[in-house]
């Protein structure tokens, strides 16, 4: 368990490439474009992305600049979740073997990508593929960029309203929680590679600031534990799911248990006290 947690929280990209058995930097373009479903996307990943900053600014200063642009990033609606984004990025990186089936079963991603490119051209902008969260991250990973660089890159684009992000990634201070996204990438890649079984939420014991566990006596000799969590600055629903269940994919359970407080997963605010369902309620 300690080992599993260690892996979750150690989300360095070097580690990701070791796990996957190749460094992203030397991933040949041909290999990427060999995945048919990623044709439109890998094309964009190989093109220069105009929003890339030459010198990545420190995340703190970027955050200050962003608040002037857009108070909160554009989020994706309804069921558009984190796992879809993760799957799409991993298939961009040719990590998932059956990308055509798993990453874009409905063809939505490819259709959207073509439509975005055509609409952009219509508005007099150059006919290059429009960046999405997925193309930005997979391109940066392939270039071997650091976590901090990816954080700045994504938050800058999201702050300008250029990309939308899953609502579970929105932090209590209105930023994009790229650490949770990268963590989910590592986990899913490991599971795909067979080096890690999915963590069972039962095996995770959450601790630290904001965590509150209450034992309630049910009957003689049996007690039920109730977990609560007080939202801190920088938390996202994804990071809270990671903290309590070891897997961001369980964030809908926390969201559903707190619908009275949260009208959508991106409405997290510092100081909110959330009910966290116990793992056997998932």
């Amino acid at each position: 368990m300690t080992r599993a947690l260690g892996i979750y929280f150690c989300i360095s990209l070097a580690m990701l490439s070791v796990i996957l058995g190749f460094p992203f930097k030397v991933l040949p373009d041909r290999q990427a474009s060999a995945v048919p479903v990623a044709a439109a996307v890998s094309k964009s990943a190989n093109d220069p992305v105009p929003v890339l900053v030459a010198e990545p600014a420190a995340p703190a200063s970027a955050a200050a600049a962003l608040t002037a642009v857009l108070a909160k990033p554009v989020v994706r609606g309804g069921a558009a979740g984190l796992d879809e984004a993760t799957t799409a990025i991993l298939s961009d990186l040719s990590v998932l073997p059956t990308a055509a089936q798993s990453a874009d079963p409905s063809g939505l991603r490819e259709m959207s990508s073509s439509a975005l490119t055509a609409l952009r051209a219509l508005r007099g902008q150059p006919e290059v593929a429009v960046p999405t969260l997925e193309t930005l991250v997979s391109k940066a990973l392939r270039e071997g960029q650091t976590d901090a660089y990816i954080n700045t890159l994504v938050n800058e684009a999201a702050g300008k309203g250029e990309i939308s992000v899953p609502s579970a990634l929105i932090t209590s201070d209105g930023r994009v929680d790229t650490a949770v996204l990268l963590s989910n990438l590592v986990t899913k890649a490991q599971v795909a590679a067979g080096t890690l079984a999915e963590t069972r939420p039962q095996d995770v014991v959450a601790g630290g600031a904001g965590v509150e566990v209450r034992m309630v006596q049910k009957a003689i000799g049996s007690a039920e534990s109730h977990q609560f969590y007080t939202v801190l600055a920088g938390d996202s629903l994804g990071s809270i799911a990671l903290k309590f269940y070891g897997n961001v994919s369980y964030y809908p359970a926390i969201f559903n248990a707190n619908r009275a407080l949260l009208s959508s997963p991106d409405k997290l605010k510092v100081g909110q006290r959330l009910v966290v369902p116990s793992p056997d309620q998932l």
């Binding site: 558009a80 939505l108 073509s114 999405t132 990309i163």
Partner: protein
């Protein structure tokens, strides 16, 4: 009615119209209206021509010659499937290209799936399949932004500078344009910016109007 139409109806050789020579040899016998032989629209430095097949013996062949597709799913469409959205015919569509699309304030949307779009569409149309506008598409809000909606954060948008949209599909027997329009309404797109070409590809081709195979769709 059918007998009357037969004299005027011009189909296409195959599903994609190709005009070579005919109009250059003699004056056009098959115009758009009494006063308009064809429409020429300057778009992005290229010129789009909308004209009719000059072969007066042409008839509909291929996909669009069918009369009896199963319903459901291929059912008859009302004139105004989404209240508040006005319905256009062919001449209004050409007017929309001249007034809105040429000025950069409007877009002609083919709401069909890419494999249909690739076989041929109306000149200047952009393929925005109806499914991409549904709220469960992760990229739906990116598309709204590309349509000119100003993001206000979260799922809020200011649509005041968003493009006017004229949406069509295969036409009178297809609900795809209607689904696109309903999804746009659900996303908060202003009704007065939405328009519906009900005839779609079916009526467009019955009239022998120009159909182009999009170059972007042919590339991959």
């Amino acid at each position: 009615m059918l007998v009357l139409l037969r004299g005027f109806c011009l189909g296409l050789a195959g599903s994609v119209a190709v005009f070579i020579g005919a109009s250059g040899v003699k004056a056009q016998a098959v115009g758009l209206t009494e006063k308009m032989a064809e429409a020429r629209i300057a778009l992005d430095g290229r010129e789009i021509v909308i004209a009719r097949n000059q072969d007066e013996t042409a008839t509909i062949t291929g996909d669009f010659s069918k009369t009896s597709r199963a319903c459901p799913p291929f059912c008859l469409q009302p004139i105004a499937p989404v209240s508040g959205v006005d319905t256009y015919g062919e001449l209004e569509l050409i007017g929309f290209l001249q007034d809105k699309v040429a000025a950069g304030t409007g877009v002609l949307i083919d709401a069909r799936l890419p494999e249909w779009f690739a076989k041929g569409s109306i000149p200047a149309a952009i393929n925005l399949p109806f499914a991409t506008l549904a709220s469960d598409n992760p990229y739906r809000n990116d598309i709204l932004i590309a349509l000119g909606a100003k993001p206000l954060g979260g799922e809020s948008f200011d649509f005041s500078d968003a493009l006017d949209m004229l949406v069509f599909c295969n036409g009178i027997w297809s609900d795809q344009a209607m689904r696109a329009l309903r999804a746009l309404r659900g996303a908060g797109y202003p009704m007065e910016k939405l328009h519906y070409y009900r005839g779609g590809m079916q009526d467009w081709q019955i009239l022998g109007l120009t159909v182009v195979a999009p170059k972007s769709a042919a590339a991959p």
